[in-house]
Amino acid sequence: MKNRIPASIISYIVTVLLILLGTVVLIASLPFILGRDLALLILRSREVERVPDPEVLEQIRQDFDLPTSAGESIIRILSGNMGHSWVDPSQTAYAVAYEGFFNSIILAFSATALALVLAIIIVLPRIKVAARGGSFKSWHILPVAILGSLPEFVLAAGIVIIFAVHLQWIAIKGLSIGPILALAIPASGMLGRIILITIDEVSKEEWVMNWRLNHVDSKKVIRAVVMQVSYIVAPQLSIYFAGLLASTALVETTFNIHGLGSNAVKAALNQDIPVLQVIALTVITIGIISALIMHICTRGRDTAATGLRVMNKPYLRWGWLIVLSPLLFLAIGYYQGDASISAEDRLLAPSLEHWFGTDQLGRDLFQRMAHGTIYTIGGSLLATSVCVLIALLLSVSSTLAPFVRRIAETFNALPAVLIGLLLVGTLGGGTHVAIIAVCVVAWIPLVLHGIAVADMIRATQYYQWSVDHKEPVFMRTVHHIIPAVSVAVIRHGASRIAHNALAIAGLGFLGVGASHDSPEWGVILSESINYAERAPWMIIVPTFYLIVIGITSAFAADTRLKN
């Protein structure tokens, strides 16, 4: 026992250092991998319209002291010198990267807190049932599904229009309750899902049954259940915080907040490598620390209980069909043909002729949505399947598990936006790039879940029995681990289809995903932002359909208590 702890700490430190080193090397060589002309990028970030004469670029190359090869770039960083921003050499990389850093911290912190409160409120019905007895209803999951499938940039735009422009309750610019809400609401949906599953676990605990049978005041039971659920979920908040910190970029843009997220996007676009280094190392460190906090707080606890354990039967009833019906309705649009551009039909409100109205180029929105279904849902299904496969491959081996877990937790804090931008630089735009970008982060929760389930199986008596009887590792894995892990991971994956569709849509909003005129819903949404007030149908329709997918996949993966 005594020897094991230092060994695991050493291996932990080694993994962390390797991850940090890998990041440093990757980022330092980035512009060279991408084949970008640093001098031109610096000229463009300083002077947008200047003619890039060769002599001007040469002068920049010399005077801005730019590295000429990936090797040089790596050596410079490893010698410990982050140096100055390339775009603005009068400032250190730290100064540029950390400008508004605390805005992002406060934003992510407050949003996490608010998300927890909101999440508990929306799952209260199920807590009540857990405390009072009775059966879990499928509608309990509705608010979680709806909130979880609202795109944050749509929320942000809505909050600005209603609360800042019309009601003038909040400032349009900078940190206020507005951006916090925009981040917290979708997060509360995600958190709510975890809490729901935790409730299911807690309500199976003996004391709940005992209190209930002994007619303890139901309010008291509810309070106790809420407390118990909070204890279990709270440590995960640190992971949530790191994740939110990484995804503030879109909201920061809408509210014109200068923070880590917007700095990251700017540095990535400008290929301001020293600044990018500082930001990437910062978020990764935060990711590592938050994972550590979680581990310390959950030490000695069965991690599987806090993971998403989705082992029960899902609801597959008529309700599902009703939820799906708006999607089926879109099929009509598919047979109406392609939506064509028509300059005189711009921004028409919904009517008998155009059921969902028209967009800024006079295209019929109903037809566009119908054609976009394939890209959005298909893309999400593809991304989810790939992630499920990755998770399966990485979670079954007990030797790999600790490393995979650490890498997963570290990457959790890397901004998906940043990854998207990097991939666009290397691979160009397109739906496939968006799918890859989503996969880079979406495998994390699945693999963590898979590892937890595999650990749980290894702890069972029947698995121990097979170990004692010297069944080969391969056979043990095939017989016991893979079946259990695949069921759990596939179900968990199903519940994330909507979330991944949302992520693809979010990347489309940044111009990363599908091509320009594609009917992909994210593209439609991103175009709608400029016309949100003049043509609200452009923003409402795709948002509604994202919610439909959210509800559908939530129903597909809901757990319920077996009586």
């Binding site: 002309d37 319209e49 920049i60 807190a113």
Partner: protein, 484 residues
Amino acid sequence: MKKFTQIKKICSLGLAALFLSSALSACGNKNDDAVSIAFPFAPVASLSPFSDDANLLTRMGIAETLMYLDTDGQPQPWLAEKAEVVDNRTVSFVLRENVQFSDGEKLTAERAVESLRAAYDASPRPSGLGKNDLTFEAADERTVIVRSAVEDPILVARFTDPGTVIMHNNTGTGPYSVESVNTSTASLQAHEAYWGGKPSMASYTAEFITDGGTRVNALRSGDVDAVVAVPVSRIEQLSDFSIESVDTPRMTYAYLNTAQGVFADPVQRSLAFNAVDADLIAQTAYEGHAASTEGSLFNPHVSWNIARLTSGAITEVAPEGTPTSETITIGTITDRAELGEVASLLAQQLRDVGFTVDISVTDYKTQEQRFMGGDFDIVILSRNYQLGAGDPVSYLSSDFTCSGGFNMSHYCNPIIDGYISTALEEIDSDTRYRSASRIGADIIADHVLIPIALNQTFIGYSSEGIDNLYVDPYERRLVTQETK
């Protein structure tokens, strides 16, 4: 086990409390009474004049150049009282009397020369100063003599480039001085001893809001009193506010790649050229908030742009033939919201006559190298033809000659090159500008590019909040001592 539970509880409660308390601490607060103006760019180089921040320096009323461009693009005295052309290589500027920098120091020829030398030696040098060797000399207390190594017809106009603002110890001579600045906001104080009279405001705030929608919303919510560069799709939302607009020397063009691919063939070029209804695109994508180009490379309404017909040097190709079956690729950028819509509409018009079209839209920094490399058959961009010294012939030289640095059409025509190099020598400003107009017509006749729309700039403001903004077609000036 019990101990563990306690640790867990403390840990968990502590975390939860930490998160909750922070949620309460974040509350927004509104601005005070000082006038505030939203600018579309944030400083990129800590307000160094040797970057685009130079434009902010002049627009915010912090610093001034020796000359400025009037509406016709002609240099007029600003910090200089007059500019005297001594010979084709020499200009003598006489500085205004009694000008002080905002730190209280006096403007002398010596200090002006120091500032100009810093600009000349900057890396890179402000584009308006050109590539030739210049020397600067303080002849007396108020006279600055600039000598060029070669004949330079636009030597005076070079000193309208905002990169040549006269600065001393990081302060300028303008009506306002910077009290504090970061990339999101700046606060400015009146420069009491300003040579043009005491500024009307004691102070004002500049907000840097890069997102067009957020900028407009800031005006609507009362957070700012004026916004610069209102996106056309948002103009309708400002019906309760005043809007000033002016034609800029900026046009949206569709550049055809004349060097490689489909449009190396003049027949295909002319087919595409004739398929495009530029005015319809302008009307739709700019919602009527852009003027027609009337088929001209330059603003058709400026006095020097006289040429509508070609000089006959370029024989127009009759569109005989059929559109190629190859897929045409259009590249444009997300940085200006309208360009994506322009691309969609243009693609539609090309498809209508039988072309197959693909569109690629990404941010400018990612696209530019591809534009330069000739990766696209058509590049759609909005381009200012009077940058730096404001000389349209320099623009022709950089954008349409074989060795041009920003030749988006990859155009190389010895006849046009010859015309341009002759025009570059032209001393008389009027003749020079007119020959630019004629060469422009020739380039259009060769179907090198399709002018789509003449861009306008829109400034939205609340008439109770602010008055007397200087609406400059070159987007170099905005706040003056009279702004209040």
